[in-house]
């Protein structure tokens, strides 16, 4: 839901601002002519292209955050994380259907295309050939990786702090946390907003990558896919999430590429089986995990603040030291 919203908002902002900044008429952003004009503006004006991209990302994050705040109200009323997943799944599907049937939002069913990467203009400076398309895309992919690393580091730092401890306490025992004056609703809202800001960002990045925001991309399988990623790696472990995302994305892209490749060798083979077969594989993985390993492959991580290292924590049968302050801190335990 937040991913899709970020995508649609990002694309719409980009489609409106590109002509606006370059002095061209905005017109109907869904027209084929406006799509062509977007592409030529992106090619001609590097500065506008990049700054519109930044603004589009900012709006996508803002939209994701606001939506996250709104969604946190029903989310606060459910006790089990599985019900929360249901809310998000239903919310995502509602979003998709609304967008599909509302031409005013992201051009409805047709989607909004002609969203080039912010480095499209680089192709002016490159010799004609495949490089013209690949360099801007490759550069953009590198930027995405950097942003992803940034998000991961942020998440790791948050987890290994008093806030991480607070999050765990709120998750594990609401009543006990409240008895210690923790505002549980507030914490849940905060984390929901942070998560959906990240999802909004991801949605806009994705749209800029594939060049089109279309409701078809926001089918429930997307939510399920993310769900599988989470459960696979272990959802209380940031590295686990990364592992899950890696495995599922590889499965996803791998099946697509291999399906197409196989079909070119064996024309009789129906590549759909391989390309869409991934959904079946994902479903099987999900079921197996739910039955045998509900907590995922990697275990939950401990919160690593000084409280963890200061008194020799984490070690079995640690000897209490009478002068804790003199125990040398064992270096920064933060990872990532």
């Amino acid at each position: 839901m937040f991913f899709g919203l970020g995508g649609v908002v990002g694309a719409t902002v980009a489609a409106d601002l590109l002509p606006l900044f370059s002095g061209a008429a905005v017109g109907n952003i869904c027209d084929i002519s406006s799509r062509l004009s977007r592409e030529s503006i992106a090619l001609a004006y590097p500065a506008i292209s990049v700054s519109v991209w930044v603004i589009a990302l900012a709006f996508a994050m803002l939209a994701g955050g606001i939506m996250g705040l709104v969604a946190s109200y029903p989310a606060l009323r459910v006790k089990e994380e599985w019900f929360l997943s249901m809310i998000l799944l239903v919310g995502g599907e509602t979003f998709r259907i609304v967008v599909t049937n509302t031409p005013e939002i992201g051009c409805g069913f047709n989607g909004l295309d002609g969203i080039t990467t912010p480095f499209y203009w680089l192709s002016n400076y490159l010799p004609s050939g495949p490089l013209q398309a690949e360099v801007p895309t490759g550069l953009y992919a590198a930027v995405i990786v950097l942003l992803a690393i940034g998000c991961f580091v942020f998440a790791q730092k948050i987890c290994n702090s008093p806030y991480g401890r607070l999050l765990k306490s709120v998750r594990d025992d609401k009543v006990a946390a409240e008895a210690l004056a923790k505002d549980v609703s507030r914490v849940r809202k905060q984390i929901m907003v942070i998560g959906s800001i990240m999802a909004g960002l991801a949605g806009a990045l994705y749209v800029y990558y594939i060049g089109v925001a279309t409701p078809e991309d926001y089918i429930p399988a997307l939510t399920f896919g993310i769900w599988v990623m989470m459960i696979l790696g272990g959802y209380a472990n940031n590295r686990g999430l990364l592992l899950g995302a890696f495995v599922i994305t590889m499965l996803d892209r791998g099946s697509l590429v291999s399906g197409i490749a196989l079909e070119s060798y064996f024309p009789t083979l129906n590549s759909n089986l391989i390309v869409y077969g991934r959904y079946m594989v994902e479903a099987v993985i999900l079921l197996l995990l739910l039955v045998f390993r509900r907590k995922g492959l990697l275990p939950e991580t401990r919160v690593k603040t000084k409280a963890y290292t200061l008194f020799d924590f984490g070690k079995k049968n640690a000897k209490p030291s009478s002068q804790p302050a003199e125990v040398p801190p064992k270096g920064d335990a933060t990872t990532g």
Binding site: P162, R165, A176, E178, A179, K182, A307, L310, F311
Partner: protein, 255 residues
């Protein structure tokens, strides 16, 4: 101890479906006192504490006043912010954390508890070390400092009770509601716990309101005792007077 009340409960009730767990209870607890709450199993003691701390919602009607403020509309964390701490009959500790980390959850207003300060380790690390020291002193007072590196799943029930008490004491509450602080604790340790409670009262002026089944220990340390039976307060008196009253035995024998 003064004559001024810190807690004033007026005509509150709670029913679970058809079960009337608490029925029109009114009582007052004096500031700086150690007050006991006793009564047979199922008489509604824990439920009464839940109503006072806000963990359960009372039926409409009646009122609860704490430290001069009307608190019955406040959510539990707000009541705790006002200085009302509590422990639970079945210890509620955070799993997957050490005893010290549990106690470290308790301090309020930690800089690193704000999501956008949390990534900036330097901004909160100093405070974290201070709080860890304070938590350790707290544990030393309760003689559980040897447990600080143990996971909460590795300690005994009695130790859990103490760890819980340590969490609740971290923020220097004005009043503490303790639900059976010595259940599952060795007899000698039960004496020690009450000794710590008495010390805490003298040193910091904390008010204690305690549910306890070990009457012989409780009676040695309390100023006043309430007896609850079938959701109602049936007696309020000094412990010396309560032991002599035959209504106590009657309540416990279920007559």
């Amino acid at each position: 101890m003064t004559d001024e009340p810190i807690l004033l409960v007026n005509g509150i009730s709670k029913s679970f479906g058809g079960v009337k767990a608490v029925e029109g209870v009114s009582l007052s607890v004096k500031k700086g006192s150690i007050t006991g709450l006793i009564g047979p199993n199922g008489s509604g003691k824990s439920t009464l504490f839940n109503l006072i701390s806000g963990a359960e919602k009372k039926n409409p009607g009646g009122s609860i006043e704490f430290d001069g403020k009307q608190i019955d509309a406040l959510p539990p964390h707000k009541r705790s912010e006002l200085g009302m701490g509590r422990t639970f009959q079945t210890p509620r500790l955070f799993p997957g954390m050490t005893v010290l980390e549990n106690t470290m959850v308790a301090p309020r207003g930690q800089k690193g508890e704000r999501p956008f300060v949390a990534p900036l380790r330097r901004r909160w690390e100093g405070q974290e070390v201070e709080l860890a020291k304070k938590a350790k002193e707290q544990m030393t007072r309760l003689e559980i400092d040897k447990l600080y590196g143990k996971l909460t799943s590795e300690i005994s029930g009695g130790q859990m009770k103490l760890a819980q008490l340590s969490n609740a004491l971290m923020e220097d509450p004005k009043m503490l509601l303790l639900d059976e602080p010595t259940a599952g604790v060795a007899p000698r340790l039960a004496q020690d716990i009450f000794q710590s409670i008495t010390n805490e009262r003298h040193e910091r002026g904390t008010t204690f309101f305690i549910i306890e089944h070990r009457l012989e220990v409780l009676f040695k340390h309390v100023d006043t005792v309430f007896v609850m039976h079938q959701g109602r307060i049936i007696m309020e008196d000094k412990p010396e007077a309560i032991v002599k009253d035959k209504r106590l035995a009657e309540a416990y024998l279920g007559i």
